[in-house]
Amino acid sequence: MPDLDLSRYLDLFVSEGREHAAALGAALLELDASPSSVDAITRAFRAVHTVKGMAAAMGFDALAERAHVMESALDPVRAGSERMTAPLLAHLLEEADALARGVEEIAHPVDASAATGITTSAPSADATGGADVPRTAGVDAERYVRVRANRLDALTDLAAEVDIALRALDRALPANARSAPDDPVRLALGDTLRAFRELREQILTTRMVPAGQLFSRFPRLVRETARTLGKDVDFVLDGGEVELDRSVLDQVGDPVMHLLRNAIDHGIESPDARERAGKPARGRLTLSVQREAGFAVVRVADDGRGIARDAVRARAIASGVLPSDAATLDDAALLHVLTRAGFSTADHVTEISGRGVGLDVVDAAASGLGGTLELRTVEGRGTAITLRLPLSVAVVRALLARVGNETYAIPFTHVEETLALPDPAEPIEAGAPPMVALHDRLAAGAPSPRRGSRGEGVTVRARGRRVTLVVDEFVGQQDVVVKRFDVPRGATIPFAGATVLADGAPALIVDVNAIV
């Protein structure tokens, strides 16, 4: 008999796959509350097992394999030979999210084929979870091809190298050729640069996927978390069509998940408390993505109780983070305190936020992507936390600044303005951000190259603070390709990575978050 036409079963696969993914999540959350529940472990196992069988039948091998691995982890617990532990459960919850995402990516073949499992700088464990593309998905199927992630990476790397070579060529152009309007070398080089810019744009575009892929895992999470905590929450998604680099998307998923959990746990009040406060019993939680001037802005906003500034201040004073005479905290100062590792205002550790997740983790993730974190909160009205991220981590537009013999790249995400520094004798304008010599922040202890001469300044913003960095001079601006380096866990260095400039010289990329 002829092969089955699998496309006929796709809708059924998706709807039933969603059901089982949801059942799996619910069972795991139940195990979180009562780890020895035989009923919950049995339901979790069955859901995973069913998804495995269905995915295998459809030829979605990556999804089937993921389910198989989960099933193998669940089996000894079900059989009673192993106990459910907190780390195992945390792992399973993550895997369950990846599984749900895999089903969603199959549900939206356009997304799925765009998401060819690109895992560049941070191959998170779940990045390949949904790399299955319906082979027989009828519409649009022939318009997409699956591409190995490492081939796309190779293209990106090659583009970066061609970029550097072309810039060097441009610089090497003799002055007389540069000034002659019809010099054939100059014209050909101009054409090449234009075509190359287009080519690079196209290569970067192939790495972009809609943020909706990030969103698909959250409705269930929000629902289950709200249910566990006895909260009533309307979850609003906005901007799912905005495209981001897959590696940015992969890395922003967990921070967003933590923000959502925090908002439900600590932000949104119980229905009773909301009614007493004259608010609708049902809280509102919004996750939105927007594109703003070349950046992706991801925002998690709730209409809950807001952050208690005075409680944070008192706690910060008590723990020595702030001096005892500290004034009321504004949003920036509040964020600064809240992003200190381990700082928490929760009176007791709850089931949900007790995973040791604080704003410090979210802040670190934003910094790692070359982005920033912003906070706005009004007591009694709600809190909004905004992640401002580059659309792509592979390439960052940066201001190049010389300090002594070194050139440093300062990502534009953080730059507010550049300025010629006033005469040191003149009084500093009131309210102006503090001035800091970049050299002092980067090479503490080393002698300053030269002092007293007038330099240039750049006002940067990070963690809600503004600082004017003093450098010797600005030497230009450039899209730099970020090469991250491995830093031992716990170590802090003031650099986000390194890059190679047009003239072939290496430059360090300043991690503005680390120095303001």
Binding site: M1, L12, E16, M54, A56, A57
Partner: protein, 120 residues
């Protein structure tokens, strides 16, 4: 007269796919069951020529269902449908009275081969 089949699986998806394979080959699917208990009940009621039985199902699993069905009708013809990595369970199922098994993902030809061999 075409042979009649009872298809037992907790996933609608799997039941639909299996039913299609069997019907295209000329079988009549006279019933479906989504739990082991329903399978036993429908077997008694419909007396199908053949049963396809998933192993992992809620309520009562496939192996217990086979045991009850063969206790009711020693000549019942049951083909187990197991997923990868359940070889040990297949042995249990055969001991419980199943006549053959197919492994998911199904290849239509393999399903029909097993089914036809069992029906003889």
């Amino acid at each position: 007269m075409p042979h009649t089949v009872l298809v037992c699986d907790d996933a609608v998806f799997m039941r639909t796919m299996l039913s299609d394979i069997l019907q295209q080959a000329g079988f009549t699917v006279i019933g479906e069951a989504d739990t082991g208990a329903v399978a036993v009940e429908k077997y008694k009621q419909l007396r199908p020529d053949l049963v396809t039985m998933d192993i992992v199902m809620p309520d009562m699993g496939g192996i217990d269902a086979v045991r009850e069905i063969t206790a009711f009708d020693p000549n019942a013809k049951v083909v187990m449908c197991s997923a990868m990595g359940q070889q040990a369970l297949v042995v249990d199922a055969i001991q419980a009275g199943a006549k053959d098994f197919v492994v998911k993902p199904f290849q239509p030809s393999r399903v029909l081969e097993a089914v036809e061999r069992v029906i003889g």
